[in-house]
């Protein structure tokens, strides 16, 4: 008996009891659909997060004050002295640029509109280091720094909130914590980040922020130092150089640095491992429903074997060998789960697409990705489930004694 014939016969038999076949398949449909949807959402989330991380800027290192855990007491704050030491191509040849930053929340207003934004005091190096560009106007220059100029660059979200538009704002005046600042440029849109929108941000000269808005003690304190390595390969060397220079300046004991260096790669690794764990975890839960679907198939196939005992007896009387009966029932169960699996793939894909639409409408850029791998995995897995859970009932059918099977009522 060839396979094609067996498939046709199995289809006929499944077709003979549509309701039951459909309900049996539903278990697999839901299982596979859930697995596909979860994998798609997981892959989409990973993509979105990694995408926003790579938007931070390549070859980037962050230096914070404070140790990685609680064991370091009274960490010495980072200062402009540290910044200048790092910005030395003789002692730190792997470092391309150093951008010190003061960062805090501030109230920005124009006319009647008020908005709480992230205010960042920067130096000109900030633009290349963080990949920032302006869509209109100019960047903050060394002159602005030296003159503690009251100038400001607005993120597009801030511009939208205060003015309702993004262009033609150069020369306008906004108030930051009550002090007037002249708008000299609008930043290019950057999209969502890990810590809220990166577009709800304003940039002012470092010296201005230091002197008038974000006063720190000691006065030359720096919140974060962004460091750009020469290229991607020298990130590790740059990290080493930073560590050496600052620990020397802070007189840290060996292994007790009072600052932390964090690279973009560290963030990517952390984020991937978190989304990976989540995907595996949710996918695992979905796989359980696939298992339950498989047990459903076994159950129904057992009922089917009992119901068709006479037919099996007849087939054996006419010369069917054990193998023929086995193949017949295995074909039925694996067809059930294969077809269920294929429908499930479409269901999962549809769920993913709907979630994508909903999140697109709520402003988050999030595309669930149904990968070929996930589709193959689901197809193979569901067929294997059909085979596996079909073996017991099929074996039972194949081992029926023809005399007794024929007599069965």
């Amino acid at each position: 008996m060839n396979i094609w014939r067996a498939v046709i016969e199995a289809l006929e038999s499944l077709n003979g009891n549509k309701m039951r076949s459909g309900l049996t398949m539903l278990g697999i449909v839901i299982g596979v659909g859930a697995v596909i949807a979860m994998l798609a959402l997981g892959a989409g989330a990973q993509d979105t997060i990694l995408g926003s991380l790579s938007g931070i800027g390549t070859n980037l290192l962050f230096v914070f004050s404070g140790g990685e855990d609680e064991s370091i007491r009274n960490p010495e704050p980072l200062t402009m002295g540290d910044v200048d030491a790092l910005d030395d191509s003789f002692f730190a040849p792997s470092i391309q640029a150093v951008a010190p930053v003061l960062q805090g929340n501030a109230e920005v207003s124009h006319g009647g509109e008020v908005s709480t934004v992230t205010l960042t005091g920067i130096t000109p190096a900030y633009f290349p280091v963080r990949n920032y560009t302006v869509i209109e106007g100019e960047e903050i220059t060394e002159e602005h720094i030296l003159g503690r100029a009251s100038v400001i660059l607005l993120g597009v979200e801030v511009a939208d909130t205060l003015f309702g538009r993004r262009f033609g704002l150069i020369g306008e005046t906004v108030r930051v914590e009550g002090q007037p600042f002249r708008v000299i440029g609008i930043l290019e849109e950057r999209g969502g980040g890990m810590m809220g929108s990166q577009d709800n941000e304003v940039l002012v000269p470092f010296s201005t922020a230091q002197a008038r808005i974000l006063r720190r003690s000691p006065a030359d304190r720096v919140d974060v130092i962004f460091v750009q390595a020469v290229d991607a390969d020298s990130v590790l060397e740059a990290e080493e150089e930073i560590s050496q220079i600052i620990s020397q300046r802070h007189r840290n004991a060996i292994g007790e640095n009072d600052f932390t260096i964090f690279s973009q790669q560290d963030m990517v690794d952390t984020a991937s491992s978190i989304t990976g764990i989540l995907t595996t975890f949710i996918g695992g839960i979905a796989a359980i429903s696939l298992l339950v679907g498989g047990i459903g198939i076994m159950n129904i196939m057992l009922v089917s074997v009992t119901e068709r005992t006479r037919e099996i007896g007849l087939r054996k009387a006419l010369g069917a060998r054990k193998r023929d009966i086995l193949i017949q029932f295995l074909t039925e169960s694996s067809l059930l789960s294969l077809v269920g699996g294929i429908i499930g793939i479409f269901l999962g894909w549809a769920i993913g697409a709907i979630v994508g639409l909903i999140s697109a409408n709520s402003g988050t850029d999030f595309d669930p990705i149904v990968s070929l791998g996930a589709v193959l995995l689901a197809t193979i897995f569901s067929t294997v489930i059909g085979l596996f859970f079909g073996i017991y009932p099929a074996n039972r059918a194949a081992n029926l004694v023809p005399v007794e099977a024929l007599r069965y009522e």
Binding site: S13, L314, A317, V403, L406
Partner: protein, 228 residues
């Protein structure tokens, strides 16, 4: 070729029902010639079903010898028995036993499928249906056929593999006497034309009387053989 299509020697069959042993066959020895029409009669419990199952290779005897068409049947395993049934035995059952979802043609084709024949199956099945006078019903399903027609399909199915013997178990039991007689005539005709040995298990004297020989069973033994 041997003259006898069936030779048995001292067949016994013992069923164990818990602690009790039931002797369904107690030393049955018989010979059936090629082309012969034989009726096996007996009351229920006489062992005639067991004898039919054994002769039809559906079941193995507990002891004794059985040679069907020159092949020793005892000691064959399940799959070899299935193969013998497929090639040498055509079954006709009281309740027809057709596959309800398949057409007459596919029903008749079924034994060919299990015999591994790949080409010309449809044609052979069509010829078999023609020989039982149903060439205009090949695409009908069992539910669309009368009882007599269903039994004809079953007979065509029994014939399709050119078996050595046809085992008919109460072939007229589910039919009224007129249609039953038609079926008997058909079976006897086919026997005359093709020379296939016909074994009829029945308790109907009228049916048995049409055989050339009647074997009567009683308590698992052959009580007497009479020429009909």
């Amino acid at each position: 070729m041997d003259d006898n299509v069936i030779v048995t020697h001292d067949l016994t069959k013992v069923y164990k029902m818990g602690l009790v042993e039931v002797h369904a066959l107690c030393g049955v020895s018989l010979e059936i010639k090629r082309g012969e029409v034989v009726a096996i009669m007996g009351a229920s419990g006489s062992g005639k079903s067991t004898l039919m199952n054994t002769l039809g290779c559906l079941d193995q005897p507990t002891s004794g010898e059985y040679i069907l068409d020159g092949e020793i049947v005892a000691d064959l395993d399940d799959d070899q028995l299935a193969d013998i049934r497929n090639r040498k035995v055509g079954f006709v059952f009281q309740s027809f036993n057709l596959l309800p979802r398949s057409t007459a043609l596919s029903n008749v084709e079924l034994p060919l499928r299990y015999s591994g024949i790949t080409s010309g199956r449809k044609e052979k099945a069509r010829l078999a249906l023609e020989s039982v006078g149903l060439s205009d019903r090949i695409d009908h399903r069992p539910a669309e056929l009368s009882g007599g027609q269903q039994q004809r399909v079953a007979i065509a199915r029994a014939l399709v593999n050119d078996p050595a013997i046809i085992m008919a178990d109460e072939p007229t039991g589910n039919l009224d006497s007129k249609v039953g007689q038609e079926i008997m005539d058909l079976l006897l005709n086919l026997n005359k034309e093709s020379g296939t040995t016909l074994i009829i298990i029945t308790h109907d004297r009228k049916i048995a009387a049409q055989a050339q020989r009647i074997i009567r069973l009683h308590d698992g033994r052959i009580r007497k053989e009479v020429a009909a």
